[in-house]
């Protein structure tokens, strides 16, 4: 279950980051954000909600703690990826 929460929160955070105009443009080397940006944003929020629901299944509350900690972890990793990936794919 923790692996599932790990994967879902990671995907959610990555999609939310790509759903932001600035990062979308940087990662895909585009001048204008396309319709895909909206899809990323919406699916990011949906996955975030889904992962929260799954984390809530843990009656001890540890799932929520893991959920918040994992969001921070993925947030950091995704930010570094956004900072360095466009340089590699250019």
């Amino acid at each position: 279950m923790s692996l599932l929460i790990f994967a879902l929160t990671g995907l959610a955070v990555a999609l939310l980051a790509l759903g932001m105009e600035r990062h979308y443009k940087a990662v895909f080397h585009k001048a204008k954000p396309g319709a895909a940006r909206r899809v990323f944003k919406v699916s990011g929020w949906l996955l975030l909600a889904a992962s929260f629901v799954i984390a809530s299944l843990d009656a001890s509350g540890v799932g929520w703690v893991a959920w918040i900690a994992l969001l921070a972890f993925h947030g950091f990793v995704v930010t570094l990826a956004i900072a360095y990936l466009p340089r590699l794919t250019r």
Partner: protein, 516 residues
């Protein structure tokens, strides 16, 4: 003060952060290490090995060993091993009132671990700062309050909290990248920092808000209790009473394990053994939920071995909330996976404090050079830069010497455990002097390289000082090897920082200092 509220709060963030930053950095480093307190201990006590011995057998062995060492022990405290650390902790009080401890193997209780404070050193430093009671705790308390202040003012000071989400622009001049990283580290793990500093205050609640307890419990009672060494009742009177009977512990332990399930028995505390009315209390591991007080212990009569039916202690909402907040700080509930994530967040917090301290100097450097000429700094500014080096680079390097001392000091040395700690402080003293005899960029590089080398070479030191690394490899002891891998990784990080430091400064003018 500044004209706007944001200006005032930014000012508060800057100066609060600077003055408390060095302290918070040391607290963050040792606190992060404390997440792996037991893993550090199992490496620092390599004589003890993980065994398949049952917990009740281990307890029985430990109890016998205590009685062999001190047949008239007044109280006995035993902590059982778990899958993170194989040692069996024995502590007992002699009839004269001295408290002795020993960490032994769980199989025979005969093999004694080397004299080292091991993970306990990092854990104690985290909130006592190696200072005498209660000063260290008061200072740590103070640091926790100001961390909360720094966090809240930091949120206000950060102008584009949401717009800059997921933003890091490396290689930008003028401190932009440092600020980006500081913001990133701060924003991304903000819930973690708020939780950790707030729960720290809850842990210290009794120290700086003692009035609630004083109101409930009149001070006279407390003083009397303190004078009796924390004991209450007539059992504390030591007028050589008839030696009471001692029931076997095994049936009690079996009863406790039956109630809680196998492997959940954590520690045993037997008190008042010198007189009739002694008790043996069994405590379970409270690691299956966030709260530290979810499961109550079981107390038996020391003479008869009969369970004393304790009325369940009244646990109101405040007590339960307190236990949950306490548990969040200690994360006993975290398994290996979640623990590693928290370790990462601890490192991120360390980086947050470090980048904040560096940022203070990076932002002020151009003004200093305009004032004092190129490459020259005022005394106050240079002092901050040098303290930054001694703390940010010097403290981790000093802690690395703890592990070296653990393997290199002769085993029979008197007060060996204390000397390990002394070596850390000697190393830190050298790190504090070093930036005054070297130029600032060189001191950064040299201290970071030193720290990186000390950590990366630790497996080598381990391999040549004893059979333990080879044995761990043969047995596939993941806890032992994992410790060395993490230490090696941290060494690589320091080395990378040293390498970047060299690149950033290459071609720059050497910095001299005008002591004005």
């Amino acid at each position: 003060m500044k004209k706007t509220i944001r200006g005032s709060l930014t000012w508060l963030h800057t100066w609060c952060g600077l003055l408390l930053g060095w302290l918070l950095y040391a607290i963050f480093v040792t606190g992060t290490a404390s997440y792996y307190k037991h893993e550090i201990t199992q490496w620092a006590h390599p004589e003890l090995r993980f065994t398949a011995a049952s917990r009740i057998d281990a307890l029985e062995q430990g109890y016998r060993e205590v009685l062999r060492a001190e047949p008239d022990a007044a109280s006995i405290y035993i902590v059982l091993p778990d899958d993170r650390s194989p040692g069996l902790f024995l502590g007992w009080e002699t009839p004269e009132g001295a408290y002795l401890t020993r960490t032994v193997d769980a199989c025979t209780a005969k093999v004694q671990a080397r004299d080292s404070r091991a993970g306990e050193f990092f854990y104690r430093f985290h909130f006592e700062l190696q200072l005498p009671y209660p000063w260290g705790r008061w200072i740590a308390c103070f640091a926790a309050v100001f961390m909360l202040v720094a966090l809240i003012t930091g949120i206000v000071a950060h102008r584009r909290f949401f717009k800059d989400f997921f933003t890091f622009r490396p290689g930008k001049p003028g401190g932009r990248s440092w600020l980006d990283f500081h913001n990133l580290a701060g924003v991304i793990a903000l819930p973690f920092y708020l939780m950790i500093s707030y729960t720290a205050l809850i842990l210290f609640l009794d120290m700086f808000m003692p009035w609630a307890r004083l109101a409930v419990e009149p001070p006279a009672v407390q003083t009397a209790q303190m004078e009796a060494g924390g004991r209450t009742g007539d059992s504390a009177v030591s007028t050589a009473p008839a030696k009471p009977e001692r029931a076997e512990w095994r049936p009690m332990a079996e009863q406790a394990e039956k109630a809680w399930g196998p492997g959940r028995l954590r520690s045993v505390y037997a008190a008042g053994l010198a007189a009739p009315g002694g008790t043996v209390s069994f405590s379970p591991a409270n690691d299956d939920g966030i709260s530290v007080g979810a499961r109550a212990g079981m107390t038996f009569d020391a003479a008869t071995g009969v369970l004393i039916p304790g009325e369940a202690p009244a646990r109101g909402i405040v007590t339960r909330l307190h236990d949950v907040l306490y548990g969040l700080h200690m994360i006993h509930f975290a398994g290996a996976f979640l623990r590693s994530i928290f370790f990462f967040l601890g490192l991120l917090g360390t980086a947050l404090v470090a980048t904040g301290l560096v940022l203070w100097t990076v932002k002020r450097r151009p003004r200093q050079e305009a004032l004092h000429g190129p490459g020259r700094l005022g005394f106050g500014h240079a002092l901050v830069e040098r303290l930054n080096i001694a703390v940010i680079a010097g403290f981790p390097a000093s802690l690395a010497t703890f592990f070296w001392a653990n393997r290199l000091l002769p085993l029979g040395l008197e007060n060996r455990g204390d000397r390990e700690v002394t070596i850390v402080f000697i190393a830190w003293g050298i790190a504090a002097i070093h930036p005054w005899v070297r130029s600032i960029p060189r001191a950064w590089k040299e201290q970071l390289w030193t720290g990186g080398a000390l950590l990366c070479l630790l497996p080598l030191v381990d391999a040549v000082t004893g059979p333990y690394l080879g044995r761990a490899l043969l047995e596939g002891n993941r806890t032992y090897l994992g410790f060395l891998v993490v230490v090696f990784g941290l060494g690589l990080m320091l080395g990378y920082a040293a390498h970047r430091m060299g690149r950033a400064r290459r071609g720059g003018k050497p910095v001299t200092v005008e002591t004005a």
